[in-house]
Every structure is written in C-alpha cells, then in structure tokens.
C-alpha cells in the first residue's frame, strides 16, 4: 500500500455541550481519493475545518507526513501541504480572476514580502497562473473581477486556486455544487487527473452519488460527528448504516 500522508487521531471538537466531531481516527494515503459522506450536520465540513486549522481541536491530533500539525495556524498548515477549497465560495471579490490565482502561487513561492519589485514583473508566477486558468477553462475571463463572475465560474476558480496551490492534501468541499451540467465534468475530470498523479491524497465531501461512484476509492461516513463506516465504496454504499445514515433516517432503527 502507498504511504500515509494524513492522519487524524481521536480528532474531537465540542461547541459548548455539542460534540460536532467525535473521536474520528482515520488515515489517508497517497494516490487515494476518499469521499466523505453523511447527512447535513454530520460534521463533514467541521472535520475539514479541524484538518485545515480554521477551528482548533478540543482533543486529538492531526498528523501530516507523520508530523503533528494540530497546534499550527492555518497558514502554517497550508505551507506544509494542506490545501482546501471551500464550500461557500470564498475568494478575493474585487481582484481579477488572474490575480486570485496569482496570489496563491505567489504564496507558495514565498514572495509575499517582496516589496520593491512590480508584481507583474514575475512572469514565472503569472505564466503558471495562466496555465492553471487554461486547465479550468477560465482563461478568457482572467481580467474579470471575481465579483462579476457567474456562480459556476466562481466555483471553478475555487478549484483552480486549490490546483494552483498544489498541496499534498487536496480537500474539496462539494466542488460541483451549483455548477451547470456542462461545467461540472470539467472540474470532475481535473480531480480525476489529480488522483492519477498518485503522490497526493484527495478528500472530497460530496452529495452526488454518481460522482462518488466514479471517483472514490474509499468512502467514510460521518454520522452525528462520529465515524459510522469506512471502506470500499461498493460495500459501504450497500451497507445498511449508509443507507440509513445517508438518507437521514434514524440510525437506531437499523
């Protein structure tokens, strides 16, 4: 089996008395695409937030490449290879499409504290940004302000920014939500391409069953914040626990 890139040990977060993520232990390997499913409020996005650091864990550990990153800030985790695309579009609205992607590449190149050169003069950054925009088919819109883009294109840009970051751990939170039928395949093809590169691990929160069926190597099911199932897609999807949990029925009835 390929090596483990990301691991969570008993990862837990409580908000007041409510346990949003409940002792989730899981390993994610290179070249593997894991779909995370579960009803609304099951803690999928919160689990993502704990891994990428937006929310501090109450208990447990997150390890990247065997190193404990639980206490690190969001930007430090990002530097070390945790990349995240957000469920609710979360971009730099008054900057151009190209600038949004450029900023990501510039961060990775650690050029942020370069004060005295013109941003445009760094052609290697711009060229790479353009190649990413070509991949997601946003090249023609590169000079547009992000706030003027359609929702579908904003979602594509969200994915483009993650690809531009080129992290070890790709985290997609419903990447195709709100996209039109002809836009979604572009993004899904890109995710399949990333998976084929074998040295990355991909986490995907997704509701669409057909997407999961075509892309996922493995499914984990979260229910009330706890890990309810983990395994091969066909098996997990057939299991009662998923049928019930995913359809949102009471688990106790099983």
């Amino acid at each position: 089996m390929s090596r483990v890139l990301l691991q969570t040990h008993d990862l837990t977060v409580r908000f007041g008395g409510h346990v949003a993520v409940d002792h989730v232990s899981c390993s994610f390997r290179a070249g593997e695409l894991t779909a995370i499913v579960g009803p609304n409020g099951a803690g999928k996005t919160t689990y993502f937030n704990l891994i990428s650091g937006q929310i501090p864990a109450s208990e447990g550990k997150v390890e990247l490449n065997g190193r404990d990153i639980t206490r690190m800030s969001v930007s430090q985790r990002c530097e070390r290879g945790i990349g995240r695309a957000f469920q609710l579009t979360n971009l730099f609205p008054n900057l151009s499409v190209l600038e949004n992607v450029r900023l990501v590449i510039q961060a990775k190149a650690k050029m942020g504290f370069n004060l005295f050169s013109m941003a445009e003069s760094h052609s290697e950054v711009t060229d790479r940004a353009i190649s990413v925009l070509e991949k997601v088919r946003l090249y023609d819109l590169r000079e547009q302000k992000v706030s003027e883009l359609s929702h579908g294109n904003q979602r594509k840009l969200e994915v483009a920014m993650l690809i531009a970051l080129d992290p070890l751990v790709y985290m997609f939170d419903e990447p195709t939500a709100g996209m039109s039928v002809d836009e979604a395949p572009v993004v899904l093809d890109l995710i399949a391409e990333l998976k084929a590169e074998k040295d990355r691990t991909i986490l995907l929160v997704e509701h669409k069953m057909d997407v999961i069926r075509t892309l996922a190597d493995r499914i984990i099911v979260l229910h009330n914040g706890a890990l309810a199932a983990d395994g091969d897609p066909a098996e997990v999807m057939a299991s009662d626990v998923v049928q019930e949990a995913y359809m949102g029925k009471e688990l106790e009835d099983v």
């Binding site: 930007s75 971009l91 900023l103 004060l115 050169s117």
Partner: protein, 351 residues
Amino acid sequence: MLVKLLSGDLPRSKLLTAILVAILICLAFAPFLFPGIRSVDTAARICIFILLVASYDLVLGYTGIVSFAHTMFFGIGAYGVALACSHMERGFGALIVGTLSGAVVAALAAFLIGLFSLRVRAIFFAMITLAVASAVAVLVSQLSGLTGGEDGLNYKIPRELTPAFKFGGELLGVKLNGKLLNYYVVFFGALMLFLLLLRIVNSPFGRVLQAIRENDFRAEAVGYRVIAYRTGAACISAAIAALAGSLYAIWLRYVGPDTVLSFEIMVDILLMVVIGGMGTMYGAVIGATLFVVAQNYLQELMQVASGAVESVPLLPDLLSPDRWLMWLGILFILSVYFFPTGIVGRLRQDD
C-alpha cells in the same frame, strides 16, 4: 521608463491623468508660477499632505486597517527633527539623524501596537491607536522641558535651507535663496516617497495586502500569515508618515502639538483619503490638493462672494468668511454622496 516609475499603475482615466499632470506641474514650479510666501507655503503643505495621506491609504485603503495614530507618527517624525536640531550642532547631520530616528521610532511604535492588537481583530488596532495617540498628545504637551509643551519648539535648520542663504540673483523674478532650496527638498522628498509607496502597493507584498483587505480568512488559508502582513503594512505606513512629518518640520522650522499632533489633522487625513478615493494612491494626490487649497483659500473666495452679493438679503451672511467650515462640511457631504468611491474611483468609472 515612465510606466516603470509609476510601477505599472497608470491613472487609467484621461481626465485623471490631465489633473495629475497639472498638479505635478503646479507643484514642481510653484515658486515660479505662484510667487509669494503664502502660496509657496500652501504648495509645500500640499506636497507633505499628499505623502501623509498616501501613507495612510496604504493601511486604510489597501490593507483595510483603521488607524487613528497617523498624526502621532507624523508628529514623531516632526519632533524627531525638532529635537535633533535643538540639541545637536546646526547642520545637515542633525536633520538626517532626526529624520531617521523619527522614522525608526514610528515604525517601532507601529510594530508594538500591531503586535498587541492586530493579532486579535483589526478593530482593536483602531481602538488602541486612538488611545495611544491621545496619550502621546497629552504627554507631548505636558513634558514641556523636552518638547516645549503647548508652545512647541523653534529651532535652527542648516543655513542653506533658510531665506538668509542667497546664491545667484533672481530667476524669472524669484529670488534664489535657501527657502527655494528648502521647497525643493520637500517637493522631491515627497515625490520620491510617493513613488516608493506606489511601488510598494504594486509589489507582490501590495497584492497580499489587497487580498487581506478583500478576505483575510482566505488569505490565511492560501498560506499568508495575515498578522505579519498587517503589522508590516502598519510599520511602513508609520515610517513614511514620520518622514512626511520630518519634511514638515524642516519646512516650518517649528513644531507644536497643534501643528503636527492634533486630532483635527487626523480627521483631515481621513477626509482626504475618502474624498480622493481609497486604495488608489492617486486619490491622496487629489484629496490632499483639494483639501489644502480649500483650507487656505475658501475663506478668501467667500469674502469675494459675500462682497459681490452685498445688496441681496441673507446671502452675504451665508457666504460670510466665518462660515467657511460649514461650506467645507457641505462640500464633503456632497462629494462623499456623489462619489462614494472617491474622485479617482468616479473618474475611472467614466472612462
């Protein structure tokens, strides 16, 4: 060459370009175009306030941080020169020492304030700067042994920069003396630092600042340490504000709490940025020029106007020079109402 000098950030509007070129020419040749002590003094103030307002735009317009300590940094620079000139031997050495130490102290003060407050939320920075600035203003007026208190300090600057120093006779009817040199120190100092600011906001660093203004949460998530950038921007802005203060001190040969530290100046700066257009740099040029000219000449214009309508009832009272602040206020309300993105934003829209 010109594009490079402006860091690729062109005015992007024909009318704006024309206005900026006109302002540049007027300021560059002010002593010859508008001879007279008062008009040259106004021109020097415009240069200094353009720089001061532009440095404020770096934090407010580009980074999205509200600071109320900008006059404090301005004052630190001014008092730096004043103290160095009163305690050191008269000469350029004192000017350089005062200017540099003012800039360093201002940057350090911004660093400390930033370290304590920007970590939490940007709004705390506004509150802490307000508190610190008020404290410093009180301190300066109380420590009269050091700062001259409310009276301020008079000091000697190098003779080469005073009217007493004469070289050659006259050029185009203007006496070639040290005051003229002093004006050009102020003009070129402000111009170079303005171009530096323009470069900084168009550098990779400047782009990160804009990203933080747009969405600090996401800036952090793509790998930028937001606090480090915010603090960095605050320090640079403070240092340049201090340099503007030093130029002011060199020009006036006097500093006092009212001229460099008062809260009124802070409000003026805020208005100049907003009227000119936040996050544009060129807005500082337009805002500062308009404001300083209005401050200096609106009263006279009103004197003329009120004289012209003497026979009409009520109008002369309304236009009396004593009402100039009211008219300034009305002008601002109108300009903010009609140009919410500032004059520069408005001009760019039209093109």
